[in-house]
């Protein structure tokens, strides 16, 4: 299926959104990735990933509240759509197939 390809980084972004649940907006996602995967990414790189995922229909977003610390600018919350979850699961399945193949090979 064209357009359903998931990059490794995109996968991490989606997983971190799922992990954050209702609190998933830009800066939180950036922090979550930095803490869990130990790689520091720029907000710009994250933006690219988010907008591509949204284009593919794997994410949906809504504008949220504005706070003082943001200079009165509103947040944008992200949520993984049903299509997104399916894509994640597919990616996981494919990977496991490979892993099994490799493990099986090693056992011989």
């Amino acid at each position: 299926m064209k357009g359903s390809y998931l990059g490794e980084f995109q996968e991490i972004v989606m997983l971190s959104i799922l992990a954050l649940g209702a609190e998933a907006y830009g800066m939180k996602i950036q922090k979550e990735i930095a803490e869990k995967s130990g790689r520091s990414i720029s907000r710009g790189a994250l933006h690219s990933a988010l907008s591509r995922l949204e284009d593919k229909g794997f994410l949906s977003s809504r504008l949220g509240e504005a706070t003082k610390v943001r200079g009165g600018k509103s947040k944008k919350y992200y949520e993984v759509t049903q299509r997104g979850r399916t894509a994640l699961e597919e990616a996981e399945t494919i990977r496991q197939t490979f892993h099994k193949a490799i493990l099986g090979f090693k056992l011989l």
């Binding site: 907006y25 830009g26 800066m27 950036q30 720029s42 907000r43 710009g44 790189a45 933006h47 690219s48 907008s51 504008l63 504005a66 706070t67 003082k68 610390v69 943001r70 200079g71 600018k73 509103s74 947040k75 944008k76």
Partner: protein, 895 residues
């Protein structure tokens, strides 16, 4: 304070301006929230830095807002159209584009390399803080009292100068002195040769701004102290803390052996400093050694105003006037020297050399680092400017010549209503585009060749001047301005075309630009000729010097440094004799000789000597050497009067051999006249002349022969063992020598060198100069060739129709070729007539700076003409042939 107010304003505004409005709330909000959090967790600076980095990384196509507002008039569309056309034109005419881009890039590369090199050479000794007073080196000119003529200039001064000068002259804020030490440093029974070891004083670090990493500079005034550089510390102590460690210093020339403690570590001195000391010992120790037997029965205070060899520096007080200071320094030294000067018939004159003058000081002996020629550096700068100018001129030339091809396009554009300004914009964009490509290519190549260039000029010139301003900023500025100017002229030429004439078809370039082009070609031809002549002359001169008869034979001579004095005891003389006898047994050893000084190494030892039958003020400074009886035969030095040393004669310890130059200097009528006469040394001893040898060049043909005297070294205490070996199995022989040496002197480092290699180093400066010049001359010639090639191909293309018509009307081959090449023949003739005298004058002046020089050879001026004709044949010839051979029907069919 509210973190929101601390966000870097410029970046905030930049982001606001560039970010797409529909993303702005989300992204800017996130960045600012992250800033606030970073501010609390990591502090303001870190938060600011992160914010700036994040904003810059945010500038990506998906985030930047489209430039809607430019679309209101169609400038932006036209702009992108021009760019598109530039790329298409570049692609269509690949040969032309390649010639333009490579020519420009070569010019940029060459000029950047040259200017980095000349910047480095001009930056010598500029690292010291002279805001509170200038630093001067006390150079010492020796002048004959009778005639007032200069005899020599020396970089070193008297021992007594530094200790007294600051006390007596209020203009001198502080002073210091350096004395070259020649010895071995031993730590943990391992010997280390550190060539740049000096004795100095604590004030060294007051006068100069070399930074101390640890230690207190005043400690250097205490006996038993040593300061070392970081790299020496690493070499001797590895990563351990050097402070407080003990090292032995063993002098090579005397039996001094002293234990010193590391009390200071300094940063390595930069490459563009004329002082490159790595180890500084305490002057207090040197004074003690000298006071105890270095001058026979004389004590140090008796020779303090006679002993030279001290590089002496003073720091003047702020605002001290140099003229007044010079006068006072000379009154000061006169007071102490007058007594000796009268007896010797010559007196010293102090010349305070400013630090900035040292690297270019001319004719000064015994400098810490040989100085460079300022004229050479100026010449390199000139060549640098010339090369980039040629590159731009070529570019302009090519662009205007090509304008003809674009004439129709301009005509159509004008007819359709293009304004002049728009056309200029279009062609300017095109030339700037080409310039930018050339600049990028040049930067890429420079980055790649930096290490090779460092090796080539033997200086890490790109490690200095790394600041963007003033260095890289200036380069960039010059190239941008150059690109604009060289783009503007072709743009003007193109837009001047009148649409009616151009579109009707009978279009010719204006007379003006043809003449401009001819002048530029003429200049380039001349330049190629002068450069080729220059290369030939320099190469011949260096080859000539290296092949001169030096009055001796240094081939296949290996010099082994004798063991350091600390392992010399009462058995040393017999030990070194047995070692010599042992190695003489090897079949590959042809001769050996032990001497105090060897050719190729500057003899710094000398004394003022006079004849017993003349008054003491007719004295001469004679360089002294101590040799054994085999020295003359090993180096094949000819004896022209008298006899050799004879060790069986007991009295030969008190006789002396002199060279022809000494015969002249001491005013003997002939070599035979000198025999049997006696000389008086400053220590009071007298020696009889028993032989005269033919002059030989101790330091190669760049230097004149100095008057010299040699006495017999019976104690075998001299530091050099000369060994003449046969040419076969050289490395095996050296290994054999080393093994034997280690058996005889187990704790001494084996250190050897080949004399001819040392000699080659004397010519190294000239060779380097010639290689660098050659390199840049080749680049200049290459750019010129590219220009000639590009230009001629367009000119010939323009004439294709003319040639075809002539052929149709019955012209034969030679007539047609004449039509195509007449202009070049005339231009080459004209530039030959001008450039040969120019090349003659330039090279003749350069050769005159040498003591011995080659005579000018007509070939050096004729061969370049042949070279130029060859270049033209290969560039113009091919195109001409194509034009001549073309079928007239093809080119005339659409007329």
């Amino acid at each position: 304070m509210d973190p929101y107010l601390l966000i870097p304003r410029f970046y905030k505004a930049l982001f606001r301006r560039l970010c797409r409005p529909d993303l702005y709330h989300e992204l800017a909000g996130d960045l600012e929230e992250a800033f606030a959090e970073n501010y609390e967790q990591h502090g303001l600076n870190s938060a600011k830095a992160t914010y700036k980095k994040e904003v810059l990384k945010m500038l990506r196509p998906s985030v930047i807002r489209p430039f809607h507002f430019y679309r209101s008039n169609n400038t932006f569309d036209m702009f992108s159209n021009y760019l598109k056309l530039s790329i298409r034109n570049l692609w269509r005419d690949k040969e032309h584009s390649l010639v333009s881009i490579i020519g420009l890039a070569a010019g940029i590369i060459a000029s950047v390399l040259i200017f980095q090199y000349t910047n480095f050479e001009s930056s010598y000794d500029a690292m010291h803080d002279e805001s509170d007073g200038r630093i001067y080196r006390m150079s010492r000119q020796t002048v004959s009292i009778e005639t007032g003529e200069q005899i020599s200039i020396n970089a070193t001064n008297f021992h007594g100068f530094h200790p007294t000068v600051a006390d007596e002259l209020p203009e001198v804020a502080s002073s210091t002195q350096l004395f070259q030490a020649n010895g071995v440093l031993t730590s943990d029974n391992t010997g280390h040769n550190v060539p740049d070891t000096y004795f100095s004083t604590g004030a060294f670090f007051d006068v100069f701004s070399f930074p101390l990493i640890s230690g207190n500079n005043q400690d250097l005034d205490q006996p038993g102290t040593v300061f070392i550089s970081e790299s020496v510390s690493r070499r001797i102590f590895g990563n351990a803390d050097p402070m407080g460690q003990l090292i032995h210093y063993n002098d090579n020339f005397s039996n001094v052996d002293v234990e010193v403690q590391v009390k200071g570590v300094f940063k390595d001195f930069p490459d563009n400093s004329h002082i490159k000391a790595e180890v500084l010992l305490s002057m207090a120790d040197l004074n003690t050694f000298a006071d105890n037997g270095w001058f026979g029965t004389m004590r140090l205070n008796e020779v303090t105003w006679r002993w030279v060899g001290y590089h002496t520096y003073i720091k003047a007080v702020r605002g001290a006037d140099k003229k007044g200071l010079t006068r006072k320094l000379n009154t000061f030294i006169n007071k102490y020297r007058a007594h000796y000067d009268e007896a010797q018939g010559r007196r010293p004159v102090i010349i305070p050399h400013e630090l900035s003058e040292l690297h270019f000081a001319k004719g000064v002996n015994a400098q810490l680092e040989p100085s460079n020629d300022e004229g050479t550096i100026t010449m390199f700068k000139f060549i640098g400017v010339l090369i980039i100018l040629i590159a731009w001129i070529n570019f302009v030339n090519l662009a205007t010549a090509r304008a003809v091809k674009r004439a129709k396009e301009v005509g159509v554009r004008k007819a359709l209503g293009a304004f002049k300004k728009q056309l200029i914009d279009q062609f300017l964009i095109e030339t700037i585009f080409i310039n930018t490509l050339a600049l990028l290519l040049a930067i890429g190549i420079i980055l790649i060749i930096i290490p090779a260039f460092h090796q080539f000029v033997d200086a890490p010139v790109f490690d200095y001047f790394t600041d963007f301003l003033p260095f890289w900023g200036i380069y960039l500025g010059v190239f941008v301005v150059g690109a604009l100017i060289s783009g503007f002229y072709p743009a003007l030429v193109l837009t001047r075309f009148e649409p009616i004439k151009v579109l009707r078809g009978n279009f010719q370039n204006s007379n003006n630009s043809i003449w401009l082009r001819r002048v530029l070609m003429f200049l380039q031809f001349g330049l190629v000729l002068v450069m080729l002549s220059g290369i030939l002359v320099i190469k011949s001169q260096i080859g000539f010097m290296m092949n001169q008869q030096m009055g001796m034979n240094i081939n296949q001579t290996l010099v082994v440094n004798a063991p350091p004095t600390y392992i010399r005891d009462s058995t040393y003389t017999s030990k070194i004799e047995t070692y010599r006898d042992a190695i003489e047994q090897f079949p590959s050893i042809r001769a050996t000789s032990i001497a105090a000084s060897v050719p190729g190494i500057r003899n710094t030892f000398g004394q003022t000597i006079y004849r017993t039958d003349r008054p003491s003020n007719e004295s001469e400074f004679l360089y002294l050497n101590a040799i054994d009886p085999h020295f003359l035969s090993l180096f094949e030095i000819e004896l022209i009067a008298g006899r050799q040393f004879d060790e069986s004669l007991k009295g030969d310890g008190n006789v002396v051999l002199i060279n022809e130059e000494s015969v002249r200097a001491l005013d003997f009528e002939s070599p035979e006249d000198a025999l049997g006469k006696r000389l008086v040394y400053p220590t009071g001893e007298r020696r009889q002349i028993v032989g005269v040898v033919k002059d030989f060049n101790q330091m190669g043909m760049k230097f004149k022969v100095d008057p010299m005297a040699m006495n017999l070294d019976t104690a075998r205490s001299s530091p050099f063992i000369n060994i003449k070996i046969s040419a076969t199995n050289v490395s095996e022989t050296v290994r054999q020598l080393e093994r034997t040496y280690n058996e005889f002197f187990p704790s001494a480092p084996f250190d050897s060198f080949f004399l001819d290699q040392t000699f080659n180093q004397i010519y190294e400066e000239d060779r380097k100069f010639s290689a660098i010049l050659e390199f840049f001359a080749v680049i200049a010639i290459f750019i010129s060739c590219l220009g000639i090639f590009g230009l001629s191909s367009f000119l010939i293309n323009q004439k294709v129709k003319e040639v075809s018509i002539r052929k149709v009307l019955g012209a034969n081959l030679s007539q047609v070729i004449r039509v195509l090449t007449k202009e070049y023949v005339l231009l080459v003739t004209a530039s030959t007539l001008i450039s040969i005298p120019v090349a003659y004058l330039l090279t003749n002046n350069w050769l005159d700076t040498f003591l011995i020089r080659v005579n000018l050879n007509p070939i050096w001026f004729l061969a370049p003409i042949a070279g130029l004709v060859f270049i033209l044949m290969t560039t113009v010839g091919r195109k001409t042939w194509k034009a001549v051979m073309v079928n007239p029907a093809k080119t005339l069919k659409d007329e």
